[in-house]
């Protein structure tokens, strides 16, 4: 009986596994994918350690994230990613239980519950003008049971109740042009002092009644020299500011509402004076000024007298002052010395008293210390202990305590700007499979466990063991290449100029490297990375070489700033070489040629219209000169609405001695009328995309030839009125026009105009099709349009015999100058979601059908089969068309919840999706980056070329053994029977 039940179960299981499933099961989450949560470079940090229980730090970051971190382990308790335009100006804790954030230039004030991060209230404060914003949370100000928070932004000063976010009063300063610099509240008084400047040349102090917002008194005093830069408040009635020449420190005293100025020239304080800069740390009765690359501490005396008390080297980062026991105030400073950093905590009043001195070994690739935040705690022996949160140059966040790094977070990965892939090293001889799979016994045991799981016989411990085994199985975290190409490295370049190599198996950082400028000049010690290219991908005859990537950087933010090249070995993460280019970088063009060591040729264009060839070898030069006539480049000048095409002209050796420099000549221009069209988006195919076939076969064996060209540019333009946000223009005013332009000849192959539509346009270009997403103002819906482009001029190649005998020219090289005749097919659909980015899957040979990967506004990634955006869809497809897989036409594209590849996760602040082929044709790597990182492997047409991971080999083995045994037994039985028959 039990046997029968088991058999039925087995049968049921077999049947259920035969049903194709799109999504993954709950227990498959995390097997192929990983997700990493980041917050970005920390701007402000507020510690919350007073109460017993969980110690935490509240941070706000440059990625507009407000988060609560565990001080013990650095984990995120909670996190909120505000919108991209919602930059956080200030963060503080009110009432000991709310986190108050001020964002969007002082117009959005929110309170979050401290323990769990739920929003308590939100108040939008409407400002009239742009101004700097200021958040002040007075600690002991109470007005009629309400605890006001003072917010300045947009020309208004608001008092907002901390309890419910209600605006208690507001004061309009828009008329005077008054900019609040400091809000000070003397303890025990209901009067608040608001100090600000009018037109940077007049200091005004308002005394405002905190109950009503009435101005009690107002004093102003003109300062004709003008103020500039940061203001530093040194005490409750004094601030120090620089004048407009940045050479005189002005102490502004406003005791009892009277304003007094006291000027001190910096040259009186230090001998070699220059332009000074007040540093941001808030220290009591003292200020830090940066002059001539040194930091000087200036003490402010009782009568506003300034005196220099200490001076430090430039590479010092300082924290705000922190009250410690006995009315003393301390601050921390961190400076570098070799590979170590020195953390010192000193008393503000007495700089010789060092409360804490620690030296910590620091990774060179973290760069300098940018910011320090300190917090104190009481040790068991009642002395003060300090912990310091430091932000490094590579944006990483570290907690230092008791001379060690307690935890670190690689927050640079929250601002990835460019991604490429790289192979891992080939497995060396001597590492056999047996070692990987332990022993045969372990292998069998594992499969028995899996079998138990399959037959639903596993106990909870077994299930846990199976999960663990799955995580470890197939050596997915090994640092060697695998047969299927599932193990790879993703090389990510971050905004801080740091390179990270991430393993696809578990997302760990294999190596990281901070870019260095080769010249180490003053203006360019740390170049900013622009983009990342695969420099050397050895595969055929250069297997001994390590693959390398090229990082193109720039010294300075200006486009005419000189560029820097850096070549980084992918296996080791070491910089092979780096060089100053000696010219600017406006464009980098990887060419489809490689030299004998598989180094790819690159052309780099500068602002003068010259192009420079890299690598600078004679071999590369000869290869390039061979193809000299066939290399073109184009520039898109979006502001002018012009696309220009250029061809190579000659070597620019007449001007410079550089033989790797070439001049160009302009071939064609496409000018969009500036009154009606504005370029908002351009796109080309990915240069490394592989296309399997040039033919598209229709239902009735009819042939269409795809127009597969790398030299096609998709351009979207919109009417200038429609260039703003959605809804800023009426349908009549806004028209979206898309073009397909040949970048060799400048010929417009296709033009399609959408009346009453506007951007933003998100597009993806692959093979011979473009899919783009935009907003339809008439229908008030988002739309997706697909355009497929076909080659009419090769359509005659339909004679079977000619094709059989090879008498055709279908594989002959083609030129854009042959002016191929093309036609397009297109279709539009509604799409229910707003989109951040679109990508498409890519596989090794391009045979597998494609999926669109749509990054939605909810920071998830939706996989949509290309079949849904096929212009051949009709309302009633014929039987043959249905068999071919053509879906009946619907007005909108379906959003199937199971096809979210991010399942329940969110890639907060999603900015880009990168796909890369695995060696296995069915499979593609997907890497999405934003504030978070997400990776998964996709098989758009299922894994038709391999068995799934959970395939039960044990079941197969048992079946085979059982079959062999059954055959033997039946044979023996039949022999016996035969014999007895014969004896009868």
């Amino acid at each position: 009986m039990a046997m029968a039940i088991r058999f039925t179960l087995l049968l049921l299981l077999f049947l259920s596994s035969a049903i194709v499933s799109f999504s993954l099961y709950e227990d498959q989450v995390g097997l192929m994918d990983w997700h990493q949560r980041y917050i970005g470079k920390v701007k402000h940090a507020v510690f919350h350690t007073q109460k017993t229980g969980r110690k935490r730090v509240i941070v706000s970051t440059e990625e507009n994230v407000v988060a609560s971190l565990d001080l013990r382990h650095g984990e995120i308790f909670w996190r909120h990613v505000l919108g991209t335009n919602d930059a956080i100006d200030g963060v503080d804790i009110a009432l000991g239980k709310y986190v108050i954030t001020l964002s969007s230039e002082g117009s959005a004030l929110r309170a979050w519950n401290l323990p769990d991060g739920q929003m308590v209230w939100e108040t939008s404060l409407h400002g009239a003008q742009h101004s700097k914003s200021l958040l002040s949370v007075p600690t002991n100000l109470k007005v009629d049971k309400a605890y006001p928070i003072l917010v300045f932004g947009g020309g208004y000063l608001h008092a907002v109740s901390a309890i419910d976010g209600e605006v208690l009063w507001k004061k309009d300063f828009t008329a005077e042009g008054f900019e609040v610099q400091r809000v000070l509240q003397p303890p025990g008084s209901s009067i608040i002092y608001v100090l600000g400047f009018v037109n940077s040349s007049e200091a005004v102090v308002y005394q405002i009644d905190s109950k009503s917002g009435e101005v009690v008194a107002q004093k102003n005093m003109a300062f004709p020299a003008g103020f500039s830069g940061e203001i530093s408040s040194v005490s409750s009635d004094k601030v120090v500011v620089l004048d407009s020449t940045r050479s005189i420190l002005v102490t502004i005293g406003f005791l009892d509402g009277d304003i007094s100025f006291q000027k001190t020239s910096i040259s009186d304080l230090v001998e070699d004076s220059g332009k000074a800069e007040i540093l941001s740390p808030l220290l009591s009765n003292m200020l830090a000024v940066k002059v001539n690359k040194r930091t000087i501490f200036v003490r402010v005396g009782g009568e506003g007298k300034l005196e220099v008390v200490d001076s430090l080297s430039d590479e010092t980062a300082m924290s705000d002052s922190l009250p410690v026991a006995d009315d003393q105030v301390a601050f921390a400073s961190v400076h570098h010395e070799g590979s170590k950093i020195h953390l010192m905590v000193k008393l503000v009043d007495d700089l010789d008293t060092v409360l804490l001195r620690e030296s910590i070994q620091m990774d060179q690739h973290r760069g300098r210390v940018h910011k320090v935040f300190i917090n104190n705690y009481i040790r068991t022996d009642r002395s003060n202990g300090f912990r310091a949160l430091i932000v490094m140059e590579d944006h990483s966040l570290l907690l230092l305590q008791q001379g060690a790094i307690v935890w670190s977070r690689e927050e640079g990965l929250a601002s990835v700007t460019d991604v490429t892939t790289a192979e891992l090293p080939v497995e060396k001889d001597g590492v056999s499979v047996a070692k990987v799979e332990h022993t045969l016994f372990d292998w069998l045991k594992g499969h028995m466990l899996k079998l138990k799981g399959t037959l639903l016989l596993a106990s909870p411990e077994d299930v846990a063991a199976i999960q663990e085994m799955r995580m470890k199985s197939s050596g997915r975290n090994k640092l060697t290449r695998d047969h299927n190409g599932f193990r790879k490295l993703f090389i990510a370049l971050t905004r801080a100029g740091k390179l990270f190599a991430l393993h696809t198996g578990d997302g760990r950082i294999v190596w990281s490297m901070l870019l260095n400028s080769p010249s180490k000049s003053e203006t360019c010690e740390r170049p900013s990375g622009i983009s990342l290219y695969q420099w050397q991908v050895p595969h055929h005859h250069a297997m001994d070489e390590n693959p390398s990537v090229l990082v193109v950087g720039r010294c300075g933010s200006d486009s005419s700033a000189p560029g820097v090249l850096s070549f980084v070995d992918v296996y080791t993460g070491k910089e092979i070489s780096s060089s100053d280019m000696g010219h600017s970088v406006v464009q980098v063009m990887p060419l489809p040629f490689t030299d004998s060591t598989e180094q790819r040729l690159h052309l780099i264009a500068d602002t003068n219209g010259h192009v420079h060839l890299y690598p600078k070898t004679s071999e590369a030069l000869s290869i390039f000169q061979h193809e000299f006539q066939n290399v073109y480049w184009y520039t898109v000048e979006a502001d002018e609405g012009i696309i220009r095409g250029h061809a190579m002209k000659s070597s620019c050796s007449s001007e410079t001695a550089d033989e790797y420099c070439f001049t160009t000549r302009e071939l064609w221009t496409v000018v969009f009328p500036s009154e009606s069209e504005k370029v908002i988006s351009t796109l080309t195919r990915k240069p490394n995309e592989v296309v399997h076939t040039q033919a598209k076969v229709n239902t009735d064996q009819d042939l269409l030839y795809k127009y597969v060209s790398r030299n096609l540019l998709f351009v979207a333009t919109v009417s200038p009125k429609g260039a703003g946000e959605i809804g800023s223009a009426t349908p009549e005013e806004s028209t979206l026009v898309v073009y397909l332009i040949d970048t060799i000849t400048g010929r417009i192959l296709h033009r399609l105009s959408h009346q009453g539509c506007q951007g933003p346009v998100h597009a993806v270009f692959s093979e011979n099709w473009v899919v783009y997403h935009y907003f339809n103002l008439r229908a008030h819906k988002y739309e997706v349009t697909v355009v497929e482009i076909y080659d009419q001029s090769r359509a005659e190649n339909k004679n079977v015999w000619k094709l059989v005998l090879g008498k055709h020219n279908l594989t002959a090289p083609i030129s854009s100058y042959s002016r191929p005749e093309v036609f397009t097919k297109s279709q539009s659909y509604f799409f229910a979601q707003s989109v951040k980015t679109i990508a498409v899957t890519s596989t090794a040979k391009g045979i597998t059908s494609k999926q669109l990967l749509i990054g939605t506004i909810g920071d998830q990634i939706l996989a949509l089969d290309k079949r849904f955006v096929d212009p051949r869809r009709t309302l009633n497809p014929s039987q043959a068309e249905k068999e071919e897989g053509i879906i009946p036409l619907t007005d909108s594209l379906p959003i199937i919840p199971q096809s979210y590849i991010t399942h329940s996760l969110k890639v907060e602040g999603l900015r880009g999706i990168v796909t890369a082929p695995a060696k296995l044709e069915s499979t593609t790597h997907v890497f999405a980056y934003g504030v978070d990182l997400f990776y998964t492997r996709l098989a758009p047409s299922k894994t038709y070329d391999s068995l799934t991971d959970d395939f039960s080999y044990a079941l197969l083995l048992i079946t085979i053994v059982a079959l062999v045994a059954a055959i033997y037994i039946t044979w023996v039985l039949s022999e016996k029977k035969e014999l007895s028959e014969k004896w009868r």
Binding site: Q587, V631, W633, T635, E637, P813, S815, S816, L979
Partner: protein, 180 residues
């Protein structure tokens, strides 16, 4: 297996031959039943024997024609099955088609064996054989036609073009937005 054989083969001690070929009744213990004649055909007169031979040849020819026509029935059956199977590629239609291809081929291979029993000096087997061949070839053609209607034969341009890679491009171009 060997053991069994050994028992059967070498272990034999004695044997009785039941097939008695002798024609002489005296050599047997038992008399022939009444009306039974042991006379051999050779002992008949030549006229009756020729007549008999002709009849046999006729019968053989008739049988040969019957065998030669037998694929026709098969053909009709196949045609009906194919019509039932439809024009889509699935297990049933593939099975039908391949059996429709396999049957004529196997029949053509064994054409000599099939007509072996009717082999006679006096019987002209060429025509039945030709008919048999023709019908089987017809069946084969039907199978191939079916294969084609299923789209499994490379008779369309698309079958030859799909394997061709896209052509190389002479010119190369790069560029885009200026880096800011």
């Amino acid at each position: 297996m060997d053991k069994g054989k050994a028992v059967m083969g070498t272990g034999r001690r004695w044997a009785v031959d039941f097939s008695d070929q002798s024609t002489v009744p005296s050599s047997r213990d038992i008399l022939d039943p009444p009306g039974f004649s042991r006379a051999s055909p050779e002992q008949d007169d030549s006229a009756t024997s020729r007549q008999k031979k002709d009849a046999e040849a006729n019968w053989k020819l008739q049988k040969a024609w019957e065998v030669a026509q037998s694929p026709f029935k098969n053909l009709m059956m196949m045609g009906f099955m194919m019509w039932m199977a439809g024009n889509t590629v699935h297990l049933f239609s593939i099975g039908i088609t391949f059996s429709a291809l396999w049957q004529p081929i196997s029949a053509l291979q064994s054409v000599g064996k099939i007509f072996e029993p009717f082999k006679d000096n006096k019987v002209e087997l060429l025509m039945p054989k030709l008919l048999f061949l023709a019908l089987n070839l017809g069946g084969l053609a039907l199978g191939i036609w079916k294969l084609n209607t299923l789209g499994l034969l490379p008779t369309h341009a698309s079958d030859w073009v799909s394997s061709l890679p896209p052509p190389q491009e002479v010119e190369h171009s790069g560029g885009g937005f200026v880096f800011h």
